[in-house]
């Protein structure tokens, strides 16, 4: 079996800046949502991915429109990167008619077929068999499109994980399985839910490669993903990329996360993916203080506009509660 080639997939300055913009936008979007929950403007269903943005940016960057993503509940940023308007995503969180669910469900339980986004349920890992089905159709059509399927280390203990990865291995499906290992399944630390150190090790039993990488390094995530995508596009089947990371907030916004120490949180905040990347870009003169300011202004404006739009968007008509059950 060929191993993942650590080829340097070159990025132009413009691309690096674009990555930077996405990191900033996704962070700011989640931070704003967190405030909106505290203000009582967004009811619930907010599971931020603050601290984990490098995984989304590194994996989604450069995906085709035809490629499919199957995000997990913290991956709001992947919707944005795949082409959903921030106004629509904000509306989704506000349960407005302009959101993807039109008020039917919160969070990321909705998708967009035209943009290659599948919306999962709250049953973590249940998106993985669906991802296998999507990838099966790419294989049937002999296209070189790929499915990128996300799950947490917690979901890697669910039966669906095993069934999906096993099938993907047997069928050599074009899938990249991305594990966002943020060390906690709600309150349960990884060492109490797994007897091994790396989720990546599980890939071997399905007959494909698994790698564990620094999930807070956007370029490392990008490089690994590009390698895995190339393999999948060339018919070499799935890869599991385990991205080690940490979620700064609780499981959801109402969770105070008392199960972990301040020291642990502080240590992981010192590994914040954004300043690391900022320093890298500044040192390479890709980013300047002026450009940084520009990006931050653009991000704030985008989010302000999205909130404004969502706040003013109409609530669904009450009778919509019983519609759209059947085609």
């Amino acid at each position: 079996m060929p191993t993942i080639k650590r080829t340097k997939f070159k990025l132009t300055s413009e691309q690096l800046l674009e990555m930077f913009y996405w990191l900033k936008l996704i962070r700011a979007f989640d931070e704003r949502l967190s405030i909106l929950v505290r203000q009582g403007k967004v009811r619930s269903g907010v599971y931020t991915g603050i601290g984990q943005e490098a995984i989304i940016v590194g994996t989604c960057f450069g995906l085709r429109r035809e490629d499919y993503i199957c995000p997990l509940h913290r991956d709001l940023g992947s919707f944005l990167m795949k082409g959903v308007d921030p106004k629509v995503m904000m509306s989704q969180m506000f349960a407005k008619t302009t959101g993807l669910s039109q008020g039917r469900d919160s969070a990321l339980h909705s998708g967009v077929n035209e943009l290659g986004i599948f919306g999962n349920t709250s049953m973590l890992g249940a998106n993985l068999p669906v991802a296998a089905g999507l990838a099966l159709t790419f294989k049937m059509e002999k296209t070189d499109n790929v499915v990128v399927a996300y799950f947490g280390e917690g979901a890697s203990n669910v039966g669906d994980f095993h069934e999906a990865l096993n099938f993907a291995g047997v069928q050599h499906l074009p899938i990249v399985f991305v594990c966002e290992n943020n060390l906690y399944a709600y309150s349960v630390p990884v060492e109490r839910s797994m007897a091994i150190d790396d989720v990546a090790d599980r890939a071997e039993s399905y007959g494909f490669e698994g790698v564990a990488i620094n999930g807070n390094d956007v370029l490392a995530v990008y490089q690994s993903t590009q390698g895995a995508l190339a393999r999948a596009r060339n018919g070499h089947g799935p890869t599991l990329i385990e991205c080690k990371t940490y979620r700064w907030h609780g499981h959801s916004e109402h969770d105070k996360a008392f199960y972990r120490t301040d020291e642990e949180l502080a240590m992981w905040k010192s590994r914040d993916p954004i300043p690391t990347f900022t320093t890298f870009l500044l040192a390479r003169n890709v980013l300047s203080t002026e450009k940084l300011k520009e990006v931050e202004q653009r991000v704030t404006a985008t989010i302000d506009e999205a909130v404004e739009f969502a706040l003013n968007a109409p609530d669904p008509a009450p009778e919509e509660a019983v519609r759209d059950l059947y085609a």
Partner: protein, 327 residues
Amino acid sequence: MPKELTYLEAIREALFEEMRRDPKVFVLGEDVGEYGGAFGVTQGLFEEFGDARVIDTPISESAIVGISIGASQRGYRPVAEMQFADFISCGFDQIVNQAATLRYRYGGRTSVPIVIRAPSGGNVGGGLYHSQNPEAWFIHRPGLKVVAPSTAYDAKGLLKAAIRDDNPVIYFEHKYLYRRAKGTVPEGDEIVPIGVAATRREGDDITLLTYGAMVAPSLEAADRLSKDGVEVEVIDLRTLSPFDKDAILQSVEKTSRALVVHEDVRTLGIGAELSAVITEERFDSLDAPVMRLTYPDTHQPFSHVLESYNLPDVDKITTALRRLAAY
């Protein structure tokens, strides 16, 4: 040219014809490939359509359903086989949480055209895990359709309708009928529409509502009652969700008495719902309480002696009809 087929052959013919008609239709499940399925339903499909469209899966019911859902999001119409309806519990989450809710939480922007074939029913010496009738679980879940043919004609026509339907359809095929039910089946596109019951015998005195393997003994019991001068109208529901309320209510208006017969267990079986609907909507027409003859609230024992004790049969149906006639 119409021809004589068994119920099982009729299912197979529907699969052949639909797969020839629409390249987006494919079959997946355990042992459905070269082996031709545990009951032989899919025999010959592999030879004609190959392993890309007749897919042997690992023992992974949840993945079988999840893969079907994924493929459906790219315009495919998968027909998944649960080897036994009893095993459908292993795919339950994907059916009730993923498939049933998808359109709703997408705000009506998608549909889930999948069929899940589930060989169900007892009287075949199958014991606890090869005899179940789990239809009520799925009737109870909005977003799903449930059908249960009783004749070869309907087995073919309903499967074709299910495959062409844009919603998830659970297709309960009764194992007892596989080789015992034979009948004339038209060649080609004879569709039996979902949601339409069939009156198998007309009568003015009692409405008997049933489906699946209970239709034949119900007709036999009705003939016995006829000798007593009581004419029983036997309605084969064919579709359990959405059931044909108009046909049921019209018949009850005429007869003023109703008996529901089903092989599923009693408590919260479809008999309970039909009884409630008739009572709510045609209370003034009724001369007697709506009665039920069902499997008792117990499991499906292996011993023929024990199973026969539980199964509704001609004698039991006759007794129930006489009781209702005399009320």
